[in-house]
């Protein structure tokens, strides 16, 4: 166990239906197998109907609360650009940010009443400098043959920040949680995501 067992905090944000829960389940399996204590919190129900969704994910030697404190996020992985901006304040100054280059328009924007925020990446770079990575999760997943695996592409990108975990440990986690017919495409998605950014 590296990092002296200190608890680390990963925050996933996105829109209902984007697969944040599966991504966090894989994350949980991989880190449990690696010997960590793991806790995660999600809100189910209402939020699934196209609303905003978040996952608090924490791991370390011993984790108490399942919720991350505002300002304590080590890694923000946002599946959607606007949903990243909502949680900018949650990230530590030295935190790392992965942005999926993808927008889903909320009702007020669809109706022409509000504007979708511009330059989300730029805003993050202003605060977090070189610790911001834009990943074309949707495009990469489309290239593999199924836009649904964008979540695992992002997981692949995130995996770069945990050098103590080998790629095989991640793919073993993917295999253990998904039915066999989905193994190949998801492992591919993971690998593409892993090589999409350079840490």
């Amino acid at each position: 166990m590296s990092n002296n067992g200190k608890t680390r905090n990963i925050f996933l944000s996105g829109v209902g239906g984007q697969g944040t829960i599966l991504a966090s389940n894989i994350l949980g399996q991989v880190l449990l197998d690696a010997g960590y204590d793991v806790k995660k919190a999600e809100v189910h129900g209402m939020a699934q109907r196209g609303g905003d969704v978040t996952t608090h994910f924490r791991f370390g030697e011993k984790v108490y609360s399942p919720l991350i404190k505002q300002g304590d996020v080590d890694y923000l992985v946002s599946f959607e650009l606007l949903e990243a901006l909502r949680y900018l304040n949650w990230v530590k100054p030295e935190g790392k940010v992965i942005l999926n280059n993808f927008s889903i328009l909320p009702p007020a924007v669809n109706l022409g009443k509000m504007k979708y925020p511009k330059d989300v990446e730029k805003t993050f770079k202003k605060h977090f400098k070189e610790n911001v990575w834009l990943v074309n999760g949707y495009e990469i997943a489309k290239g593999i043959g199924n836009t649904q695996v964008a979540n695992v592409v992002l997981l692949g990108a995130l995996s770069n920040f945990f050098p103590e975990l080998k790629a095989e440990q991640w793919t073993a986690g993917i295999r253990s949680l998904l039915p066999a017919k989905l193994h190949e495409i998801n492992v591919k998605a993971f690998n593409e995501g892993r090589s999409a950014i350079k840490n």
């Binding site: 999600e42 129900g45 109907r49 905003d52 609360s65 919720l67 505002q70 300002g71 606007l82 925020p117």
Partner: protein
């Protein structure tokens, strides 16, 4: 073996390990997954009951026949089940009986915010409060043992951040219950709560709570004192303990795993060992009030900690830092103004059968008495087509009651709307009332053949059991006729014009009507192949002829958006932009095309 389980999965696991034989529930966030998970174990009989009262009664009967039984519900479910619950406290049990109640602080998915700890004192029934998934499993097993040992139902209180948090759990084996499975007629004084027997049981209830108080002090293994820095001592339970421990790990704690009865000796000992006591609890000052009543000096509690909404480590740190460390921690200054970011409220899915129905109701300008379910999302603008909603079934009674005041003035102006599952839950009683007492309101049953909002659970109208086996199903039309409704109409909600005509006719009638949607399964319900009923796979906007009138945007479909692009349409009208249909999201329900006066929404062929 260790596994990551969700709190609800862990409750199901604990129940299975405890040898539970019967599990009953009506789904409700955040409790729904407990029974769904329990139904996967072949040794356990499980069912979706029509409502929580029935669930508790079925489980009670099962425990009297010697089985271990569990009934699960969300906080408002226990309101529905309160009647049997309060008297089951008197009868006690034979096989162990556990009632799980899951609160929703912060109202993530609920119509109100209740602190279910009040039921434990009110019902004189013990309550356990797990903090994480491991405790969910452990406490459920202990609850069954306690139930049999003390002849009492046991409340297990969860909440959103326990039920829907995942953490590691040590898996154990199943042990069958030891109570013989039979009914005994000699049990009349215990089982028949007429006054002469209930008065005797009433005394036993008080004696039992006394015995449980001793157990809480001397035996219950999860009331734990942790003495570190004694300058501050926190008293907390459940996930709130974990949040507080996270923020102030260096101080002392009394963690209460049993909410009621309180371990008085342990509390006294804690007050001797620490200097200042702070009670940290979510929602109401339950512990604080009780501990103060015992004569102890609680230094801080609800004077600093919010009583509304869920507590988080952030909130606990901000409200208590000054009192604990002398240093105030202020909320971080926002570098992005949240109010400038468009909100993302949940919405009806693209293709949902509720959407055209509410488009019709809006067009008719009716005052809509609504209910609990996905259709409550129709309250959001631009639909804004629901005007009343409290609890399940309430809209039917509400519409009828309003009609009694408005008289003939209300004719043609009001209707009640509720789902298939909620109609069965508690809509039948008020419908009978409407008929029996001469009301005239129209009740519209939105039959989407599933309990949708909580994540697709079966119910008595779907034709399937919780395990997916075929089951007899309720015929709503027959039922309505049987209670005396003379006017029962079926509609296809996707045909908006016809829907408007039928509803208009019925709401103007001087006697009660029931309208039932048909062929309108939940768009997410794969089993019923909901998309096959649509003639075309999707629709598109003809941007040449689109007048930019935004009528189609008013149906609030997530697949339709506005593209600003000033210009002129083919017919020469000036426009600020055009609508756009996202082809990935559109399922071809044709609702938007029926609102377009310019024939600019066109079907795509296969």
């Amino acid at each position: 073996m260790r596994k990551i389980l969700q709190g609800n999965e862990a409750i199901a696991r604990g129940a299975w390990e405890a040898g539970v034989t019967v599990g009953c529930a009506y789904p409700g966030t955040p409790s729904s997954e407990i029974l769904a998970e329990l139904s996967k174990y072949p040794e356990v009989y499980t069912e979706w009951s029509p409502n929580e009262k029935v669930a508790v009664e079925v489980a009670h009967g099962a425990c009297f026949a010697g089985g271990r039984a569990i009934a699960c519900m969300k906080h408002v479910g226990l309101n529905v089940a309160a009647d049997p619950f309060m008297t089951i406290s008197y009868t006690g049990v034979k096989g162990g009986f556990v009632i799980v109640v899951a609160d929703d602080p912060g109202q993530h998915s609920s119509q109100n915010e209740q602190d279910s700890r009040h039921w434990t004192r009110f019902g004189k029934v013990p309550m356990l409060e797990p903090a994480d998934a491991q405790e969910c499993s452990d406490f459920t097993r202990i609850a069954f043992d306690m139930s049999e040992r003390f002849d009492t139902p046991v409340l297990l209180r969860s909440e959103t951040r326990v039920s829907h948090c995942d953490s590691t759990v040590e898996l154990g084996e199943r042990k069958e219950g030891t109570v013989p499975k039979r009914l005994d007629k000699k049990d009349i004084p215990k089982m028949v709560m007429v006054p002469m027997y209930a008065r005797v049981r009433r005394i036993l209830v008080e004696e039992r709570i006394g015995k449980l108080a001793t157990y809480a002090d001397e035996e219950f293994p999860y009331n734990v004192m942790e003495i570190n820095d004694p300058s501050i001592g926190f008293i907390a339970s459940g996930v709130t303990y974990l949040h507080t421990k996270e923020v102030f790990p260096q101080y002392s704690f009394l963690k209460l795993g049993m909410t009621w009865p309180l371990p008085k000796k342990l509390i006294a000992e804690f007050f001797k060992k620490v200097k200042k006591v702070i009670v940290v609890e979510e929602l109401d000052p339950f512990f604080e009030t009780e501990i103060r009543a015992l004569g102890f000096k609680v230094r801080h509690g609800k004077d600093l900690i919010p009583a509304i909404g869920e507590l988080t480590p952030t909130i606990i740190e901000q409200s208590l830092s000054k009192a604990v460390t002398g240093k105030r921690i202020k909320p971080a200054k926002a570098s992005v103004k949240q109010e400038e970011l468009p909100k993302r409220p949940p919405n009806l899915c693209a293709g949902c059968s509720h959407r055209p129905l509410f488009v019709a109701l809006k067009k008719l300008g009716l005052f809509v008495f609504g209910d609990i379910g996905c259709y409550a999302l129709a309250v959001s603008p631009p639909l804004s087509a629901m005007h009343f909603s409290t609890c399940m079934g309430a809209g039917v009674g509400g519409a009828y009651g309003a009609g009694k005041v408005l008289g003939s003035e209300g004719l043609g102006k009001i209707c009640a709307v509720l789902g298939d599952s909620t109609f069965l839950h508690s809509g039948i009683g008020p419908l009978i009332d409407t008929v029996y007492n001469g009301g005239y309101s129209t009740t519209i049953i939105l039959d989407n053949r599933i309990t949708a909002m909580t994540g697709q659970q079966e119910h008595p109208g779907t034709g399937y059991s919780i395990k997916g086996d075929p089951a007899d199903m309720v015929d709503y039309a027959q039922l309505a006729k049987a209670v005396g409704v003379k006017n029962v109409r079926m509609i296809d909600p996707y045909n908006i014009k016809e829907t408007i005509d039928v509803i208009r006719e019925e709401v103007n009638r001087e006697e009660p009507s029931v309208i039932i949607t048909q062929n309108s399964p939940c768009i997410l319900l794969r089993r019923d192949k909901p998309r096959e009923r649509f003639k075309h796979p999707s629709y598109r906007i003809d941007s040449d002829s689109c007048a930019g009138c935004k009528m189609c945007l008013n149906v609030n479909c997530p697949a339709i958006s506005w593209v600003e692009n000033p210009g002129t349409s083919k017919s020469g009208s000036k426009r600020k932009g055009t609508s756009f249909i996202n082809q990935d999201q559109c399922v071809g329900c044709a609702v938007c095309s029926q609102t377009c006066e310019f024939e600019s929404i066109l079907p795509n062929e296969q």
